[in-house]
Symmetry: C2
Subunit: 412 residues, 2 copies
């Protein structure tokens, strides 16, 4: 053994570089995951790396403006005072973009998890024209980028959220039934070719997936959603119902990135016809239009109108939400039986309705989840509600910066 | 940069050991994943390790009887002839154990994927006594172990398959409704304490999960199931209906290891009452008892009797299988919509019925899978059918040997 170890040559250069990148990411993660500002010495102690190595790596992260240095603390013993380290504010930022059925907009988030700029325009985009809408979103994005660049910030990338099936390998939208869009390549339609040529990578993803990631405690903004466990189902109600499976803070994508289409889980095969062509899909009971129609309201009404009708004791409104709750509970029971994740975060239109939805949802879960007697299926409102897909899209960009900081760091 | 690299000390001893283990596993994997016997030189070329390193590591794997050496080939150029390497037959073996509703048994599989011994006893174990049944299985296991040990083989571990919810962290059975067992610790009841004290680790897992893994091409027996893609849903029909999600050849466990309970997905909320307490579960349409009853057969009949009735054109049998197919297709559509895995392997009682099941299953999938127009959901019989959970359980043990061979290798 010893002879073999002695004669084996050291790892080649490629592995040295890989080890350096690994250590750089280790140090970045230590700073970003620490609940309080930490020092170089803290990181050395936690990582097992030498203080000299940690110092060199921290210096690079500071130079790259990923990590910021706070004012030194008063030293508690002799020697140089420790410099507290924390995610750098207003330096490297991520851009979230979104087109949804009732709004379009953009949001810029920095490495501390703070929203530093945003612009959201409510609009009815059912069966809208993709070319016009995406060009409009591109102009919003361009203005926001110009504003944050003028303040010295650098966008590390952008993510476009769309309410439909997105091919995660190509970035193409397959279909977004409620927008009436299908088979298109959305990024070129933003009219940001010059920005992309300048190096801004724009990814595309399903909005429910990004909204789900916004709920996760993580390397960016660890304080947000501290009560959210590492694994959960996120279900977002709107005209359609999207969802995502998050396991240990990572999305479960499935083969194409299409996992989570709970809106088309069968609630009752004899139920109403869905826009997808099938019958009795969850959307036809617990989607926004179905909820409003069931309550005797116009589908142009808002969730607030439904809440007002519930508060006024409208029998139609109460019956509609009861029916939606039973259907949602039944579909969630299937979900939990199939993927065994027992925290459900409800977002979109559901949080203000939860007082009335919770009863029937929990009844169905208790009756239908096979493991219900041995585990506690928890239903809670999603902590990040307000256009969560914008936050999630921006944070995805920043998570990659923190996990692979080498790309942002000068090495010589 | 260079100065920092020069002053950074080399990795500590723990990392050296970890690198050695990593390289040992790399070499083992190269031998096990190669479709044809490979030489030390082949492994060096593919891995980037030096020939001296590869040779040392291979020698250790050969000494540990994990890798076998075949007769040398005639050299094609000057020098020592290359020695072809392959998984070692009949040396290190895995033991699969199973109690199911209609049988119990054990199977020994070697590193080449070959079944070297087995003993399976058919029996009706509905609502059986766990203490008696597990003691009986323990005696079967003891006899098989004695037989293979007498032939010089060494059991690397065992896995017990049970048809119910198993807590993967503790190895306890939570509930197996069709056996009538719940809340028990099965391993001590095998009566193999002396064997366990001697070092044999006995794991416990859900039978459908293990049967699913038996379908995967992998490090053990790469030739088996060569047509199976890396990601698939495995659904096994019996009295109950179990399933498993395999993504990139790994089980998706969920939070407790309970993912895949498709038997209790809602097909029709107005449907018949299920043993689980809910109504309209898939088992009540496509489980073995439901299929036989619907065909006018006794629930003690076999799948072969149902096939005979179908072949004879029995209207009841045809209607029962049609109804089961629609229900199975609807539940599979939910499954595919939620997890986006588009190959479905049907095992258990389903393969001989597939001629009649396929039509209604595929109709439902086409109608209900949202992505159906853009992807091809494939339904196929599971290639490993005969007590697949026994094979899967044994292979799980062997997979760990191949992935972590260091535990089996003398290091000094």
């Amino acid at each position: 053994m010893n002879r073999a170890a002695a004669t084996r040559p050291g790892p080649p250069a490629a592995r040295q570089a890989s080890l350096r990148e690994h250590n750089l990411a280790l140090v970045a993660r230590a700073v970003f995951e620490s609940p309080v500002p930490c020092s170089r010495a803290d990181i050395a102690a936690a990582s097992g790396l030498t203080r000299a190595t940690v110092s060199t790596l921290v210096d690079r992260l500071v130079a790259a403006r990923i990590v910021g240095e706070l004012p030194p603390l008063v030293p508690q013993r002799a020697g140089r005072p420790a410099v507290p380290l924390a995610p750098a504010p207003r330096t490297v930022v991520g851009l979230g973009l979104e087109v949804n059925v009732d709004h379009l907009g953009a949001r810029v988030v920095d490495l501390t998890g703070t929203v530093v700029a945003e612009h959201v325009e409510p609009d009815d985009l059912h069966d809208s024209d993709a070319v016009t809408v995406l060009a409009r979103l591109g102009r919003i994005a361009r203005d926001l980028l110009a504003a944050v660049t003028a303040e010295g910030m650098v966008a590390a990338g952008a993510t476009l959220a769309l309410p439909g099936l997105v091919d995660v390998r190509t970035g193409r939208l397959v279909v977004a039934p409620n927008l009436g869009w299908s088979s298109l390549d959305p990024v070129p339609l933003l009219g940001l070719d010059d920005v992309v040529a300048g190096g801004l990578v724009i990814g595309v993803a399903n909005e429910a997936k990004l909204a789900a990631l916004a709920q996760a405690a993580g390397t960016v903004a660890p304080d947000v959603a501290a009560a959210v466990p590492p694994s959960y189902l996120y279900v977002s109600g709107d005209v359609g119902i999207g969802s995502a499976i998050v396991v240990e803070r990572r999305l479960f994508h499935g083969g194409h990135g299409w996992a989570g289409e709970i809106g088309h889980v069968v609630v009752d095969p004899g139920g109403p016809r869905c826009r997808c062509g099938a019958t009795g899909c969850l959307e036809q009971y617990a989607g926004k239009d179905a909820l409003l129609r069931g309550a005797g309201l116009a589908t142009t009404a808002e969730t607030a109108d439904l809440v007002a009708a519930l508060d006024a004791g409208s029998p139609d409104a109460l019956a509609s939400v009861e029916r939606a709750g039973r259907a949602l509970g039944s579909a969630l029971a299937d979900y939990v039986n199939l993927v065994d994740v027992d925290t459900v975060l409800l977002g979109g239109i559901y949080p203000p309705l939860l007082g009335h939805l919770r009863g029937p949802v929990e009844t169905e879960l208790r009756e239908r989840v096979l493991a219900a007697p041995w585990t506690d299926v928890r239903v809670a409102p999603a902590p990040v509600g307000d256009h969560a897909a914008l936050t999630g899209g921006a944070r995805e960009v920043l998570r990659r910066v923190v996990e692979h900081p080498a790309a942002w760091v000068e090495v010589d």
